[in-house]
């Protein structure tokens, strides 16, 4: 089975299964777990577009998560914009920040490790700035006033919020499957595999990278916006902290780098692992991240194509061409 087919089947199956969960259980812990997994999956999708498809490994996607989260929150709190519109505004802001960081980095021709490092530094700069700026709530953080109304993007039922998050993940998954079958997708793969060859074939490498980065940042920004609306609280370490850069990166690698199903598969796996580590080890800070780091090393060492790649290999071995 080809990767795209497998991703399609896997995504549809998973999303359909996930959609009926609230009909089976209304347990808060389950829905919390799933909402968080969806937020992570969305952030991971954004990272995966840039790294998995276009080969540019960002270590600073927290920048876009944070801009999406803070952008949405500040637009509604300070400018009085409707939260739904503010959410979209946050996504757009994240896209713009992505375009700017991308333009600066790619203009300087930063590739490979250098791109990773500079994105990390950008995220850290934003974290320190937001932490020190009173307008963004500073170190105390930002509390979005509780006012549970549909018009406010706040829901009495967790299930409603969960379905919206799930719908966004489904939408982005579909987007990725479409991109795989377009010129844009082909160009990104070409850039990932051999930038010079792509250039010789008329690909405007700079422009395509910026497009990818903008879209990637916007998607991860949407994850940040969802986080803000769900928890109604933000601080600089939540919005711009290294944790989200790491999780948005580890999830697709576990799930399957450069596959449309990878981010969701990986996000669910990471969430489960995180919960398990908490049950076993209690609330020791950092213990879940130790496991994520270990998993990252193990997957790179033994399963480079992630879960989806592994399934594909199995499917091929069974003769399903």
């Amino acid at each position: 089975m080809r990767q795209e087919r497998l991703s399609l089947v896997l995504s549809v199956g998973l999303l359909a299964g996930l959609a009926v969960v609230p009909l089976v259980t209304a347990a808060n812990t389950v829905l919390n777990f799933l909402v968080f997994a969806m937020i992570l999956a969305l952030a991971a999708h954004g990272w995966n577009l840039l790294a998995g498809y276009a080969g540019q490994f960002s270590f600073g996607h927290a920048a876009f998560f944070g801009v999406g989260a803070y952008g949405g929150a500040l637009l509604q709190m300070r400018a009085g914009i409707n939260p739904w519109v503010a959410f979209l505004g946050g996504i757009m802001l994240a896209g713009i920040v992505g375009a700017v960081i991308g333009a600066l980095s790619f203009r300087a021709d930063l590739r490979g490790s250098y791109f990773s490092l500079v994105t990390l530094a950008f995220a850290e700069v934003l974290r320190i700035l937001v932490n020190a700026t009173p307008a963004t709530g500073g170190a105390a953080g930002l509390l979005i006033p509780l006012d549970v109304r549909f018009a406010n993007f706040q829901f009495a039922s967790r299930a409603a919020f969960y379905w919206i998050a799930l719908a966004l993940v489904a939408l982005v998954t579909l987007l990725m499957l479409v991109i795989e079958n377009t010129r844009f997708g082909a160009y990104l793969t070409a850039i990932r595999e051999n930038e010079d060859a792509a250039r010789a074939l008329g690909v405007d490498v700079f422009a395509e990278k910026i497009k990818a980065m903008t879209l990637s940042a916007a998607i991860t920004g949407a994850a940040g916006g969802l986080y803000a609306q769900y928890f109604l609280y933000l601080d600089a370490n939540i919005g711009f902290g290294p944790w989200i850069s790491i999780e948005a990166l580890v999830a697709p690698i576990i799930g399957g780098l450069g596959t449309a199903a990878g981010p969701l598969v990986g996000a669910l796996a990471l969430q489960m692992l995180g919960e398990m580590s908490k049950t076993v080890a209690g609330r020791i800070p950092g213990i879940d991240l130790v496991l994520f780091g270990l998993l990252l090393v193990l997957v790179i060492a033994f399963m480079r194509r992630g879960v989806v790649g592994q399934l594909q290999r199995l499917a091929m071995a069974r003769g399903g061409a």
């Binding site: 793969t189 060859a197 792509a198 074939l201 690909v203």
Partner: protein, 247 residues
């Protein structure tokens, strides 16, 4: 079709190419030869937009493209291959060629159809749905050619597209290159395989130590004492002459 005027590239103190002037007539196969390290690849890079010249100009179809980026030149119709062939791994042969075809055919269906057409032309049709990474060296060279052809170029720059092939593989490639030329695409090729140069090229330019030292038909070039010396060292032409006189 293509003209370079006094094209020069310095790397630090090294003059890789020094005042290279050459012109390529439309509809020809033009050869560019020279000993190793003569600056052929650098010259190619300047013509295709991968290196910016220190001075001099590149004119394509009457327009100055000296400072234009590589992808814009590709859009104008300058295609190039690379000496070290690296297919887009993880993609099939068809998808590899389609990356080139997308330039003129934005829709996926059209691009894939064009890719198939080009694969036929270069003899890759049987492997079209195989992963590109499975190809042999000869297959990769053909794929490199196919990708470049897929952008439907006016001028094709071939960088040692025959290197690493065995004699029978080279024999198989020659008619492919001729058919490309007959299809209306002008070719400028860097090549070490003399047999190919002699049988394919209309005109040959010789570059040695960054300087253009000769140009002419393959036959003229083969007899030119400056060329012989460039390849075999100073005095070689005289010794060869003497040897001939003795014989």
């Amino acid at each position: 079709m293509l003209e370079t005027h006094a094209l020069t590239k310095h790397f630090g103190g090294l003059r890789a190419v020094d005042g290279a002037t050459l012109s390529v007539e439309a509809g020809t196969i033009t050869g560019l030869i020279g000993p190793n390290g003569a600056g052929k690849t650098t010259l190619f890079a300047m013509i295709s937009g991968f290196e910016e010249p220190t001075s001099g100009t590149v004119t394509f179809a009457g327009e100055d493209v000296t400072r234009e980026s590589a992808h814009k030149r590709a859009r104008r119709g300058i295609a190039r291959t690379f000496q070290i062939v690296r297919p887009f791994a993880g993609l099939t042969v068809r998808q590899n060629i389609a990356v080139g075809a997308y330039l003129r055919h934005p829709s996926r269906t059209d691009a894939l159809r064009k890719a198939e057409e080009v694969a036929q032309q270069v003899g890759l049709a049987p492997q079209i749905d195989r992963p590109a990474s499975e190809l042999t060296v000869a297959g990769r060279k053909r794929l490199e050619l196919a990708r470049a052809l897929a952008i439907e170029p006016k001028l094709l720059l071939l960088d040692e597209v025959l290197a690493g092939l065995n004699p029978s593989e080279i024999r198989d490639m020659l008619p492919v290159l001729r058919s490309v030329r007959d299809g209306g695409i002008t070719i400028l090729m860097v090549e070490h395989v003399m047999q190919a140069i002699m049988s394919l090229c209309d005109v040959v330019h010789v570059l040695a130590q960054g300087v253009m030292i000769a140009q002419g038909t393959p036959d003229e070039i083969a007899r030119d004492p400056r060329v012989i010396e460039a390849y075999l060292g100073a005095g070689a032409a005289k010794r060869l002459e003497a040897a001939r006189a003795h014989a």
